[in-house]
Symmetry: D4
């Protein structure tokens, strides 16, 4: 029956991808701007990368621009040119359509070879001697439905927290290791210039095996918040990709 042929094809394909995703070089948590950029550059460099996204769709905070005005701003168009995303320059700022930016970024990351599993929520991390060695995951739908069901585990040489303002992976560590970030997870007051530069500078490894990229850098280091400007996000994603790639090559 054609109906079950279709079902079988989907079940088999997804199962192969889900099993393949049990062992990774890099697991990126969150498919927002920084996570997708990191995934694009890692996959392009041939690193086996899985991006876990808890929502049904990717893109994080990109879609609504500012207050629902779906336009985003960037100060340097070089990477967007590489990603073939249209920009328009006005008074020294580059403007892009939020929907083209979100979809173009994810489309290029997929084309480059990154795996993206959506509807997949990270509940916790695996920590053994070497540090973070994987993620404990569950289906988002099960968690939204409040069902009492155990998670399963995904192994990874390193994990990138690209979950945005909440820095969700760091927050899991903080529950048992409050000294890691004694001041807590919180951004400073809005100040674009300071933050755009600071986020890229502070991008890196916060705990053995755990890297930060994008807004989670700002909230873990208490940098200012920045609003609908995304250059720092993309640059941070690119930088974390380069750092991890270098380290994996060295290992």
């Amino acid at each position: 029956m054609i109906e079950t042929d279709i079902s079988k094809a989907i079940l088999d394909t997804y199962h192969r991808r889900e099993v393949a995703a049990l062992a990774n070089d890099v697991v990126i948590v969150g498919a927002g701007p920084a996570g997708l950029a990191a995934g694009y550059f890692l996959a392009k460099a041939g690193v086996k990368t899985t991006i876990l996204e808890k929502r049904l769709s990717i893109g994080g905070g990109i879609w609504g621009g500012a207050a629902g005005y779906n336009v985003i701003v960037i100060e340097d168009a070089e990477i967007l040119d590489e990603l073939q995303i249209t920009t328009k320059k006005e008074k020294g700022l580059y403007l892009a359509d939020a929907i083209e930016f979100a979809t173009g970024l994810a489309y290029q990351a997929k084309q480059a070879g990154a795996e993206i599993l959506n509807l997949m929520q990270v509940e916790d991390v695996i920590i053994k001697n070497k540090g973070v060695e994987g993620a404990v995951v569950n289906h988002t739908a099960i968690m939204m439905a409040g069902l009492h069901v155990d998670p399963y585990c995904i192994a990874s040489k390193c994990v990138v927290d690209a979950t945005g303002h909440a820095a969700e992976v760091v927050a899991m560590l903080l529950k048992r290791k409050p000294d890691l970030v004694p001041r807590g997870i919180q951004e400073g007051f809005m100040d674009v210039r300071t933050s755009e530069a600071g986020v890229v500078e502070k991008t890196g490894e916060i705990y053995p095996g755990l890297y930060l990229a994008g807004m989670s850098v700002a909230s873990v280091f208490g940098l200012p918040r920045m609003g609908p400007i995304f250059g720092g996000m993309i640059d941070s994603g690119k930088k974390v990709a380069e750092m991890i790639h270098a380290k994996l090559r060295a290992a």
Copy 2:
């Protein structure tokens, strides 16, 4: 101050786009597979097209594949090849990644020149002598928040109902014109073969100025439902684009 420069750039850009979208050749309601495909082919043909999407992200029912297994099936890969979306053939079916399919389709529609306004909900239609002449819209956020606030109006030479199973625009007509679809809006029992063919065949104008594309065709004509196979959706979007383009050229 850089912060307000960014804000001003976004407000101005969005305002220009929002005002430009007050007058259109075609308004497509719904940025799911059929709506995006219709938008891609219309924009490619140079028709001024605005897609209104009530959600924050585009893609409709694509993202979750079947039951959350994020893979979709298509029986003919030609259009996906044109859209540069990767497919893999297995036992006569083409399989694609749901995320690549959703983002690739929207990205190509944007690149082709279609405008997409998300977070924008169609409350009603404008009907005058010639039939449907536009859409009555409101911000989704205002409707989700339950605020008592009036809508505004968008003019269009024709409107495409690409809202999926609910056929939301047709449903607005039915409230005052119940004879339009006396049997009501409802698909038949699952039967893929019958439906894939029927949806494309029945795609077209249901009321002066109002066209149907995608699953709304199935539910308005009582065709069988079909599940996570998307060939009919894409073909229906292409067909409606060609019909409208021909008509506008003729006018």
Copy 3:
């Protein structure tokens, strides 16, 4: 890593079971008393049977006895003796512990070889020329979470509606075929004697390929309701198993 070995073992095992369940002799919808009894007798007779249960746990309305007093009543202990469920006779009625009854029944059905997939909701049925030929299913969690995600399909030579008072599968048919049960789905006023006999008598095929068992018989035929007495449920499950087994053997 032991954590991913465990994950892989579970993913593989479940995938094999899920794919195996795409083609069945019988699909039973609902793992309450009638569905479990039908599953037990069908599996014991060697019929390939899958029970789909939308909840996390099986048992339906058994667990709470009457008003939370977790005791159930049965008028004839023969089948419970076969299932090794303890009963106690008092003034002509057999009393059993609701928890032992629910778990014993499911345990014996599993031991007899029935497959039970929980957290699996039937959204619709497949109807082709021969009548009902399968079920359209989705993960319960996805439906509870209100996510917009397509279902997949399971084939079956026949389907048993053992969903209890709501007769959920019949209700799906009624939406498009209201003449099937013109009086609607509703039980009559409480009257135990009439109902216990009537439910067994009316158990059977209501539409080509669709059988009724348990309380759905009462609500489709307008029989009286009966409360926490379960003899008719078990006997109805046994009868439907025998009818289907005979038919499949004859085919």
Copy 4:
């Protein structure tokens, strides 16, 4: 088409106002009695003032009087006479209709030239070297709907926290600067006489660029609460207007 002419006129007018509100002398957060009074006196003095109100309507806690009995009390009718709001003297207290008081106050503030943007929520403040230099805002509807969308920024020479009991702007500072109000934001026990006087006395600048007016004064300084008597609110609004006006003139 008249419908889109109306839409365009509204979109253009609002856009001009929204862009104009990106740069201000004073931003007042909250359009309750103190915020509206401050806005009236500032605008009358020619200071460029924008009042941001998160609700759909203005007036804050005025509308319901005491326990829904829509009458309010004031001890001195001078300002209400200036605002042409009817009062009636009984046993030494002036009584006014709550609805006339709320609408009259807002109407006079608007007539005097204050801009009021409703449905606009302050998420955070901009702090640079000189102190508070603006507000980070979002549409209330987006926040009520729980959508993940970035805010935008409004510049201002100073900001007035007129948000009432919650002192919402001060609370934002406290999250990162807990020493600013070590005892926390909380009023004392009800005591009208002490509070009416104290609120006016303590009205002023609490942090460079951030002023307090109205009930937020009481909760930041731990003064007694006071109930449906509004003299202190109006006087506090007037005083903060005079302080800011003097300072801006001096600058």
Copy 5:
């Protein structure tokens, strides 16, 4: 004690107003644009008028303009000039600030002598031989809280349904007298010109003692909807006031 002096003053004042409102010439249900305009003109003519508003604040759908852009449009500024509400003419349309319009209208109605009781919900009407003779009311808070508490009664020579789209008072009659409006309460498709004229024309008495004004006229007579243009609302309120005044003078 000053605190209880204030309380007593409020309780006594409100009680006098609440008792006075038990007997009226006119009860207007709804303090939106039409209800407030009707109240203003009736009170100015010396008719004893009480406006009942279920919300905490007055203004109905005025506050948000179109889609939250808080600007409203009117085609003739004469009445707004009389009400001292600022308008600005652009391309043949008069534009007003939604907040100034809402507060100015209510403020003038109060100054003219209309009583407005907010937080007061009309549950039903009193109908005796002469037709509608009053309203059955309850505190909104009691209804919002879902408390099982009886209403009380307010007498009136006539009642105006100015509840907007829902035509709430007419809907109460329809529950027992479905023949009154056989086509049901529903506006037609958006068409500003037709509706602005039609609403004023059809304003009047729909049942002995029950008048319609504002959007309830459109939804009872199936006229087109009109969006954020308010000339018809104000004119309809003025017209119903003149009709009632003439009738009461004649009686």
Copy 6:
């Protein structure tokens, strides 16, 4: 242990009462004014009576008086004098405190010997040859919690529907016997005089074994509603008690 001695005493006492309530002369559904009055007069006459109340507390709509002003009105104080409830006469109306009225009525019913089981919801009725022969009940908490648990049964020579406006027991009959009250369950417009007399007149048997008392009389017979006046309620309760007592004595 004293704690379990107390528990055992309560469990035993309640069990004796619950079992005793399985067989009754009369079951009254609803412990509002009419149900309590009926219970008082039946118990006083020596009839075995159980009142089932779904809420935690008794009294129905008495507690809040009118709009939360906890005072009730009655036109004749005779029965209240018998029940030792204080009344005060003003301008031809007797006024009583709502709390004293509710508690005094229930207290006297209990003292007279009526059993009251609260937190007990009637789900359905038992109908056999003679008509209504009992009630199908469940614990309210189970129903509020939405748990899927069967009810149990209580026998009774007759049942009184004293559930107020909703006429809940009649509504259960209507689901299967729509001809019983073809016009549906709904009161008329407010008219105190007509209703006070009519409710008492129409009190009686609506179906073999099923009696009506109190507001359910008004909504079943379409009589006018009446608000916070309780004479008709009490008289209706007394009348139904006398009718049933006479019938049972005759049997």
Copy 7:
């Protein structure tokens, strides 16, 4: 019109009671067993007493007995005999019907002259030099509905916190005076004997003008909890009444 005569009679009567309740000898917060007993004994002694109850009905935790088995236990029947509430002795414990106990207690308190205002929530207390001098109140419905409306004030020579486990009035003091009960408001583990005696012993004045009675004594002093035994509650209510009466007489 009779309908408005009834309304006026209720409004006037309630207004007189509400104004009379602005000045009291004693305000008791909570109409559970301790509050009602205190009210009964104070009123019997001629002290002007108002009981404020936030719920619609009185009785607090009495109605459901233990786990919904509506029976309560008491160790000494003397006070219940005085209140004419039926008890039955079994194995050294007196058992009473929960409904008769709740209604009888409230009925006797009313008959003795206590005022009970239900649907009235205490938001805060008035504290001046002498200590607690009154209560800040609002309508429960307004608070349940989440409306932003100010409270009003009630004066009293002393206030009794009879709010049960939560000790709500003490909790208001604790927010500003955490040293009053440094260990916080929390009962100890269940131990009936210790608690029954301790609650009565510790009943008394906790802060100038503020008394404790009933379960709030246990939670403020960390005494064991006790379950459905009510002797200590009644005795505590009686004791607090005697203490206050003595003090007021002495003043």
Copy 8:
């Protein structure tokens, strides 16, 4: 009448069981894997054991396997063989069907003689001189419905906290005895090997009369979490049964 005969049989049987459960050797809180295993081994050894389960069904976190893939893993099949639960060995791990495991375990515990009361929530514990001497319980439905109703008490020589991750009984002690587990109740990061061994090792008495079994051991001692592997749960249940049995025999 057969309906009330059935009701009486159930009420009587449940009452006997509920009263019998007032005095126990062991009360186990939670019918998940550890609680059911402990119940099985204790009952088999002849110890009077009651398992209290707050949900309607037993099984805790077993039903959903990992992420809804209803398969569980165990490293040693010995106990499952004893319980007659089917396992299948793959690459050194034993796999079992989650539904067969949950129902088989509960069924065997019941057959061995353990009492299971479902829908019964433990609110608190009884602590006297010897330590924990029982549980304070209420019907789950009453707590889910938010009804204000007292609990009752169950005596026991010891109590086992088998409530899983939340360690609910220990949490009750912690509220008053924070020093018992100063680091709080929280598991460590996922690490199967360490946890499987540690949970069994640390199983035992945490406070006089209170034992820990299963996941509550991990969260009280801060051991790593472990996911869908259940060997440690079963072994911990067996160990706690042996420890308690030994102690009771010694007493």
